[in-house]
Symmetry: C2
Subunit: 217 residues, 2 copies
């Protein structure tokens, strides 16, 4: 019981800060996505691709979470948009306070799109609202099509599931229809896009999804 | 500070229970491994392969952790050894209490080898001693060779890193030498094996590692 009471307190404090982030982002007209996946599913590659697409089209920036190193922020900056690293140390997820602390950073001035790349973890980040407009679950073909059933919380809270690494389909037992059926079994509302950040296949659907959401703001 | 005090209390209680598990396993001559990885790196496949190898050679059993479903335990039983599922719900890792609760299960009678497959999470399980003889970190080629730098805690606490999915090497940017250098940068003591549960390549090294450790008990 002590554990549950403690966790509820942490989450309720986080929800307060997330509401503040959401309000400030809305007042600045910023559309923010919280990208969540296991390690190595391709969040950084997706942000790199999106950075290149955004260049000359709309101002975008990224926040990138990891337990250690600022390698991801460096990769994203090389792809053409400002990026700030959030190094979490022992923490296994980002929280709204970390995002709030960075909202006034000059890198985020006048942006329309904020890509928040969470810590590589399919479980814990799902519980923490960061003030984003939507959570996006990224699942790699190499991870297997059973993951939505085994770790349902993220898929239930996400608006969109991006299936990445389509280029590995022929080398695995992953079946797209089964992955989608498994995800919809736990989250009937879920949008699904499949793509490959490596080859570029399917990325136009992702860009269209962002454009559509920006247009509805 | 409240968070740190709370976490220390949880971990110290866990350490007590883990010591009890360790003592009871030792008195029964059981060698226990705690397999930890991100989701979909191949823990279950490695346990399935090990189950088939163990058949007729030594009595083995498995405990398998997931947030939901008992799919993994079913897969492992089909591969020839008893397996019990631990469904963790909201929890993102196994803990020693969960293992202790199962030590008297008939499935674990007279075993010599206990394979504990943790929840698919590269981060949180590393902090929880389960009373195992050794932690094994499983890293998939598809995840990228940078992961030991970004999530060092597991690699620092593991005795062995198993690099799985060698069969995908030619389709990714993963470099074995770089993965090993990255892992040894944060954990100089680490043993490393590379293999493919899909093709069977390299598995004899894994079986030899287990045999060697069993012989030293």
């Amino acid at each position: 019981m002590a554990r549950i009471a403690y966790q509820e307190k942490v989450l309720s404090k986080n929800d307060e800060l997330a509401a503040e982030v959401r309000e400030r982002l809305a007042s600045r007209g910023v559309f923010a996505l919280n990208l969540i996946s296991g390690p190595g599913a391709g969040k950084t590659s997706l942000v790199e691709r999106t950075a290149a697409w955004a260049s000359g089209r709309l101002r975008a920036a990224a926040l990138s979470g990891d337990q250690a190193t600022d390698n991801d922020a460096k990769r994203i900056r090389s792809a053409g948009i400002p990026a700030l690293q959030i190094t979490t140390g022992n923490e296994c997820h980002l929280n709204a306070g970390r995002v709030l602390d960075l909202l006034d950073a000059p890198e985020l001035d006048d942006i329309r799109l904020l890509l928040i790349e969470n810590v590589g973890n399919l479980i814990c980040p799902a519980a923490y609202d960061l003030g984003e407009a939507a959570k996006v679950a990224v699942l790699s073909v190499a991870e297997g099509d059973d993951k939505p059933l085994k770790y349902p919380a993220l898929f239930q809270r996400a608006e969109l599931m991006v299936i990445n690494k389509l280029d590995l389909l022929d080398r695995t037992d992953f079946r797209l229809d089964r992955a989608i059926a498994n995800a919809r079994e736990v989250a009937p509302h879920l949008d699904v896009l499949s793509l490959s950040c490596r080859t570029g296949e399917g990325l136009e659907g992702w860009y269209r999804w962002i454009d559509d959401r920006l247009g509805r703001m």
